[in-house]
Symmetry: C2
Subunit: 353 residues, 2 copies
């Protein structure tokens, strides 16, 4: 009596359609796939019956015979981080074109969880893996990927060359920021950030800072460097505190511009300067990194480095799609260019108008 969800009224199958149309299942299958010719008349008849009975092919059964599921497994660290969801959005826009479905799971930065997820997706017959972000350690990734499926890494720095990767060159990007600031006439350029052991990322950013100073014949002054050894779990507050404590202790700023590892840190720094009555950008220029959503809502609006995340997602997805469809792909790293978005926190020190 009570309608139980488990008693799904059995969906109509290809067999039902065949019977109703008075043809064989083979013909129905081909009428649908176009794999071989079916007389127009019977085809229309079949299509009509399919429509009337709302038949939908069972992709599970199809996957079983085809040994492919039109499904891509996506592993990312955190669904709440807009960096990853932007990449995801880009990837989805590409995979949907080829009728692939995304199966997404998040690891929340836990290697064991990641291995689990991979394992689960592996049994799910995903046709390939897209790794978005995460640790540079790919050991378990390797280990878990027993079915030897194609995989592509996006925004994930890994030491080995086993997988194609889509990245930005952090080092180069920050070096270019130094160029830009030097071009604006800044001589004393600072850096604030933290050393990220797990993602290569920050190392490269700080290296890029050093590169940039070097290239522009600027001297490295340790008074301008605010580098935390380990992870900042709350980047906004921690960067705020670092600079606020520095300024509150009566020390003066030697730099005229500050490069921040990312936008959160930039926003925290900005707040510290404002609280200590330092005018941004008149007294101190700031530039963030990432162009995250909220970077545009600060006042003054944050200048930052824009990263083409969606494009990177699309590119990674396309790479994977190619691999799945058997096209050879080079196991190379594709680097995307960043661009400097100068909003309101950078000032030119040159007085040639």
């Amino acid at each position: 009596m009570k309608k139980n969800f488990k008693n799904k009224k059995s969906p109509v199958t290809i067999k039902d359609i065949a019977e109703l149309a008075g043809v064989s299942v083979t013909t129905v299958s081909h009428a649908l796939s176009g794999e071989r010719y079916v007389k127009e008349e019977t085809k229309q008849k079949i299509l009509k019956i399919i429509n009337e009975n709302k038949y939908r092919p069972n992709v599970i059964a199809r996957s079983l015979t085809k040994k492919a599921s039109k499904t891509i497994g996506v592993i990312l660290p955190d669904l709440n981080n807009p960096i990853y969801t932007k990449i995801l959005k880009g990837a989805e826009s590409e995979t949907v074109k080829d009728d692939y479905i995304l199966v997404i799971s998040s690891t929340y930065y836990n290697a064991a969880t990641e291995a689990d997820q991979i394992d689960r997706l592996n049994t799910l017959f995903a046709d390939g893996f897209l790794f978005i972000g995460g640790s540079k350690d790919t050991g378990h990734l390797e280990k878990a990927n027993i079915r030897n499926l194609p995989a592509v890494l996006v925004f994930r720095w890994a030491a080995e060359d086993k997988y194609p990767k889509v990245l930005i060159d952090n080092r180069k990007a920050i070096s270019q920021v130094v160029d830009y600031l030097a071009g604006l006439g800044h001589k004393n350029i600072g850096y604030i950030g933290w050393i990220d052991e797990s993602t290569v990322d920050s190392d490269n950013k700080y290296s890029g800072y050093l590169d940039g100073l070097n290239k522009n014949n600027l001297i490295l002054n340790e008074k301008n460097v605010f580098l935390k050894k380990d992870i900042m779990t709350n980047e906004y507050d921690e960067s705020y505190n670092i600079l606020n404590n520095y300024l509150k202790s009566g020390k003066k700023l030697y730099m005229s511009a500050l490069i921040c590892k990312n936008d959160n840190i930039a926003l925290g720094s900005l707040e510290a300067f404002k609280v200590n009555n330092l005018k941004v950008p008149q007294e101190i220029s700031i530039i963030g990194f990432g162009n995250t959503d909220h970077s545009q809502y600060s006042s003054p609006r944050l200048s930052t480095v824009s990263v083409p995340l969606e494009q990177m997602g699309s590119a990674g997805a396309r790479l994977l799609l190619n691999a799945i469809s058997g096209k050879k792909i080079k196991k190379e790293t594709i680097y995307f260019d960043t661009s400097i978005l100068n909003r309101e926190t950078l000032i030119s020190l040159k007085n040639d108008t």
Copy 2:
């Protein structure tokens, strides 16, 4: 010669294991599932062989016989909107407990796309649907859901009672905000927002504003109401412009507090006040809605209404999981309570203390 991805070296099957272990597939199957007793000795032997050969059951095949895929289809409007990803996170934390996998697709607010996605997931043998956010119109939702699977709506206002829903009561929430402001001694309370035709949502918020005024014996002054008829596509800029134009034209503010439809609008309003040299909260109090990530980075830090999004996601998922496992669930709406998060943009007008 060239290793083609399509030639996946055929994964080891249950049959292979059976042969290697010298038992039947049935025994292997039961050794794994525990459905019936298997002699400890043979069980260990089987497990060992499974391990050695890295056998993983093929869930596709399993789904075919079981007519269930341990998969939940999730439909949401936009993966870049933190509101939805927070709900998603909550849902995932719940579904993972029962070993369900989430298949996520985004509609980008397009009804046709939504119908498509539902259709795709339908053929995918999803065991149920979770609709997160989106239009209040559920017509196509209904139409597409031909397999009659259980579905739950989270943060999606729909007219009909066909589905269980997990919501907040916008009307009540805003009414409570008026209470709160009245309690702080505010008499002239304003509202800024827009009328959202597609989600019931805003109607209710504005209604809640009227309710609140009424309940607190405050008068509605149209000078305090900034209501746009249609959608604000760029809420921050539009709200900024509305208030900035108002103030620039020399008009004065009659209100002492402003309720904003959401945080983006609150942030735009805040900026407009700051630019026009109105001190927040000394001269004008502001409260947002949503407690979105960037609401905490403004200065002063935005007071707002906090919505338990993750919990709502978990609750919705649990509801769905119950439905899938055959438990009867009431087709009711569960309302979650909001709470007022008073940070720095609200001032008390009472001088008792």
